[in-house]
Point group: D2
Chain length 336, copies 4
């Protein structure tokens, strides 16, 4: 590992410091510069990373020819401008989720990255966790049988955001997980939500995605819950999975439970319930963000396609746009 | 309490035996007869209640002039026929939930009971629990502040029913609780659901009720969950409540948590989160069904209006009808 | 199963009604009579079992030649007198735990039962649960490897008893389970405890049993805990088991975890921790008491030796006597 | 806060890095040097603290006149030698727990600190948590009534240590908490334990402390549990507390539960159980170690007596010595 990849980071508010810490610890990386509009955010980082250059001017990153890649952890409305400038200046880009404010912006970034032959990756962190990798493996091996549903609850108190509704903040995680696990694009979406607090961005939302077969995705997200819940269920004709991300160790439980319908000659049915053992697999404990940062660097060095590339980011933004449209129509179904 | 009220019961399949056991234990009640179409259901009860008359013929109950009241715990499609016959023959009626298959039927039972001056009560059991009584008390005392939402999850594996969808089986509990706690009729409902198993009755459903002010009710019901969850959250501007009916003792938790928005002169907001102590009130431990059975007898003897009277039952059936209509329209909002 | 076994029950205070309900439901049993010194206890039962004879006089049971077996659920100090009278009069006996107040009494009952050729069984209910049967099966199949320890916690608020300390009330369960699972008699016992409330019977106690090899049993019992805990851990060189009887469904968890020591040439060790999957077996859900009642009747009809016979009861009483002796010696080790 | 306190740290294996991180973040502190015998431990720290001097030679710390205080986070057997050298060279000392290997060593350090007029503090971290501060406050305000018992369970899988038994590693936390909360010195101790793994240091231990009145302390510690449990109960005549350190938020639960005995004229008792509400106080969320590090610096600057001074450390070492003696005597009571 002779040569190090020189990177810079823009945005060290809430999530950026985690990215900074992980990239800083990689032997294959040299963090040259960090940019943020707020001096106080920079000051907090300076003490821990005295050798890094700190700046409030994004141009300093763009104009530095040594910087090969830029990690963008700023609010979503700034993603397109920052990322397109970076790509135009031949820098690889890792973008915080959601990728952009519109599908059109996302498509333009994909085109630009392709034209410049640069890596464009989106930070869909959960796809790098041991839990999701394990569940993906089970689905690939058809251990669940025919899939019935994917149902997720991601609720807590805050952090309420000003410029987006709760789907763009929280459901983006569920959508990216769903997209990875199911590997199919939904047909239609219905979303119902409410803005309780007097601003016009929904703080609670129920989302349902339908596919062109008997499979559905339900997502409940909220910024107004007294409890923090991160619970996902995946039901199949053979087994069912519970993924509870709050659990410190036993995050994934596989229930050997199922229900199927039998029909008699009069077309009357009776349900067959089957309940067997439950199984809690040992998961890879490595920090997902570390895996993801390594993957970004690996893609740069070896010119690989990221698991969470621009196309993956775009699919999620398209669904988020459809969600907003359904909200406007009071929950009516919208084609994606 | 010299005189005993003579009652009979029809339907001792799944829920009926619980009603029978509770009525049997009341000193103010004499259970004269039990009716069921299935001999095996009758046989199971005979050993424990040797002094009771058992019959497969509902007419035996109707024609017995000593029987003053009939408790009906049969499938919903039979409720109207059985209850109207009982009322016409001057017998008080306690009806299992949901009250009837249609709002029209419910209204006719209400009218009939009024004409005959008989008690008509619906078994909305949860309203008689210590937990709901406590929560009602807190709302009446305005301890929660302005109400933001009521969100409920009632999911488990089975028991899938043949003639109704999951809302008519499970959401009826949440709707009756909501109606009692909130005391206001919702304006509109949206419901999205799926029938995964190949029959045409939804086994999973998301329901949202909207009111003519900033308050919403969310209900998630499912027969296809590996986990049994009975969790209700009520959020207000001052406090939030979690009601977890699976918890053996600590069913109600009151969180001194809230979030409000402040606005500055530029109309920018910042959320204020407040988190204080949590409080778990001691609840009345009496079996709700016992309280309810006593209430029915008390209403008969003292000619009182039941807490869960025909009007309460009708309100829920109207909402269930609107839910079915919204389902047909793929989740579009329906006026109630 | 033409002929029914005629039985009678003495003691319907706290636990007796459960035995009565289970025996009453067995097709192979006819419950002829119930005896209790308190009229109110008898009155509570009369309404539910109108065909049974109720009496305050134990002689009525003894003198009834139709009664073949007597179930004794009275306080422990009365066990010997009631059971010996029953055996002398040629009746089979099922005795509540602990078997007797002294080992000497237990031995005399064993001898008497043998002389009279009657069944003598002790109600060690837990041995008939699906959980313990599953754990026993795993130990027999050597799935845990070498056993390191058995550690149990059985604590709650009350019910404080007047005539015995907490070990005779609660630890008796752990001791009977341990005896069944391990199948070896401990050598020595240490017990430390305190009587906090001003009477001279310990309400909290720690008990340790030692065997003639590297295996230990720890038991913590208390009547003074705000929480109810029923938690047992069994550790082996290959796997570890948690049995949590408070859990409604997932009572037994099998951890593929272990720790072993490796030594280098300097006799320095380093521990090897191994952590794999966790597994929750589906358990037989049948009520343990029902299984036990059936077993008692089966032993009578077919002249079998009960799983929890007098010898099993005696072993536990011997340990309880040694515990009391260690308590008197402030926790010093006592040989059993 | 013009002048900064210059400190150095020795030992950055398991716990030291946490101390280093906290001291490094304090504005009132300048970390001049870090010492460790292992190069790999130093290398891990170098990347994060490039401005700090790293050395394998403790003399470099001692001989540096700018270093005012030394934080010692090495194995216990080295504590006395390192701390006495630091004190002799006029440096303040913060010592990892347990303070020393023997009470004699602890006493000599106390004497030395006094002679040199230097701060000597022991890292009993839990005393600086919001949870323990809250419980202390309740006991001081007599909210629990007369104290009955303090019962603690601190069990997990590993980390098995070579040179001490599990009490010196884990029970030291419970003992220091108990000492702080109760404020009284126990009279006698009994300890029973076993070394299952073939070395001669106990991996599981039950400890009981007795006082000169009706109050007892029970501690169960283990390195061999498949589950990690950190659960402490404190029972009083008015209320009971559960402190569960595994809970992320609801660490302290206060149960308005109690049991008292009433006596009639025949000196027969009947227990009175009282069960009221449960209350979960909001706790100070600040990292305990940060509070502790600030306290150490405050004591240095303002010449204050630390809350966890040498005398507090000595008391715990004395109890640990008595525990070892009781173990040798197979659990016999030992005076402290």
């Amino acid at each position: 590992m002779d040569k190090k990849v020189n990177i810079a980071l823009v945005g060290v508010g809430y999530w950026g410091p985690n990215l900074l810490r992980n990239f800083f610890q990689l032997d294959s990386v040299s963090v040259l510069a960090v940019c943020d509009l707020k001096q106080e955010n920079l000051d907090k980082m300076k003490k821990f990373y005295p050798a890094v250059n700190f700046t409030k001017n994004y141009e300093d990153l763009i104009n530095n020819p040594e910087i090969e890649a830029i990690v963008i952890a700023t609010p979503v409305h700034s993603h397109f401008a920052l990322a397109s400038k970076a790509l135009e200046n031949n820098k690889h880009v890792l973008l915080e989720k959601p990728m952009t404010s519109t599908a059109q912006e996302a498509q333009r970034l994909i085109d630009l990255a392709k034209a410049k032959n640069k890596i464009l990756m989106v930070d869909h962190t959960f796809l790098y966790t041991g839990a999701i990798k394990k569940i993906k493996e089970m689905i690939v091996n058809n251990e669940l049988g025919d899939l019935y549903y994917f149902s997720s609850q991601r609720i807590n108190l805050g952090l309420i955001q000003e410029d987006v509704n709760v789907a763009w903040d929280l459901a983006v995680h569920d959508l990216s997980i769903m997209d990875y696990l199911i590997g199919e694009v939904p047909d239609r979406v219905s979303a119902i939500g409410t803005a309780h607090l007097g601003k016009n961005k929904e703080e609670m939302m129920h989302i349902m995605l339908r596919f062109n077969h008997r499979f559905s995705v339900y997502i409940f997200v909220s910024w107004l819950s007294p409890l923090k819940i991160r619970q996902m269920m995946i039901g199949g004709s053979k087994k069912m999975i519970l993924y509870d991300d709050i659990e410190p160790v036993e995050k994934v439980k596989i229930y050997d439970k199922s229900v199927t319908l039998n029909y008699d000659t009069n077309n009357m049915f009776w349900p067959l319930y089957r309940e067997g053992d439950t199984y809690i697999p040992k998961l890879d404990q490595k920090e997902a963000l570390k895996t993801e940062c390594e993957h970004f660097i690996d893609c740069i060095i070896n010119n690989k396609q990221p698991l969470t590339d621009g196309a993956a980011g775009l699919k999620i933004v398209k669904i988020l746009e459809a969600i907003n449209l359904s909200l406007e129509k009071n929950g009516a179904e919208v084609n994606i």
